[in-house]
Symmetry: C2
Subunit: 152 residues, 2 copies
DNA sequence: ATGAGTGCAAATGCTTTGCATCCTG
DNA sequence: CAGGATGCAAAGCATTTGCACTCAT
């Protein structure tokens, strides 16, 4: 999402226009709930679940349905405008659709981005046409490692 | 599972003994349902779901509970004796716990193993202690590619 | 014999769907 | 003003859990 948009110094109004344009580019109408969902996910590096997005947005709109959050995220994912991470439990959503990978802390559950190496050479899988590559690194993040050390 | 066991020319009886030994190594009692689950998963390269395993085993045992299949697979996974793949939808289970990766066909859903390169160099993630690396290749498998060509 | 394991059913968690109403393009 | 989108509730899967009974160790 916003692949080609330099969003430094983007005015509030400009951002709103951009959000609407992105939705239409995905073949979706720029309704209030959808704009709010996109606005919230945009720039969120925490890979939130649909539930988390819903909770953050509940106060902002007069009404908001769980189903709308799910349906909108699914539509955006289908259109290739947001990423969807399946790591067990609830799916997590990612505003960054550039090729990159993820590290998940098995202690606190946090998911962090891992840049994809510039020269990402995929293995050749005889006859298999690769369209997407996901790497998932599971382990323990720095803060949790430190917490472990202090306890032991 | 069976990491260190040369299972060529293993007699039927020997295999059964091995299955029981593996279960005990995982801290589990070698009950009839569990033996059947391990026996079925062993040598199955299709990465079946719990549901699929249940269906295949239903006829073989006088009774078998869904819950037992789930609980056993979870226990084996917790003990590191089977792999669990989260690719969206139902989890898939893998008897192979050696480091390797997976390719999933977005057309037919089949999951195939991808060998991990011998010198697998993981990226250094400042402070993050990596315990496991999963690569998922999404795309279209050879048979589905061919089917596509013929239709178009 | 003792406690882990089983089967069954109910509960839980995540996601999708049906439908009447609302609103964008 | 037509068809897409919303909200709500109910349905649908996947998985887990509670509990009385059974069986492996």
């Amino acid at each position: 999402m916003f692949r080609s948009i330099p969003n430094k110094e983007l005015s509030q109004a400009g951002l709103e226009l951009r959000i609407a344009a992105e939705l239409r580019a995905a073949g979706l109408r720029a309704t209030a709930p959808r704009r709010a969902i996109v606005r919230e996910l945009l720039g969120d590096t925490s890979h939130p679940t649909a539930q988390q997005l819903f909770e953050r947005l509940e106060g902002q709109l007069r009404t908001l349905s769980f189903a709308t959050v799910y349906n909108t995220l699914r539509a955006l994912n289908d259109a290739g405008h947001v990423g969807r991470l399946e790591l067990g439990g609830a799916a997590r959503f990612d505003p960054n659709v550039e090729p990159h990978h993820h590290a998940i802390c098995e202690s606190c559950g946090e998911v962090r981005d891992v840049p994809a190496p510039k020269a990402a050479r995929a293995p050749r899988l005889s006859g298999f046409r690769i369209s997407r590559v996901d790497h998932v690194y599971r382990g323990v993040c720095a803060p949790c490692l430190e917490a472990e050390t202090q306890t032991s």
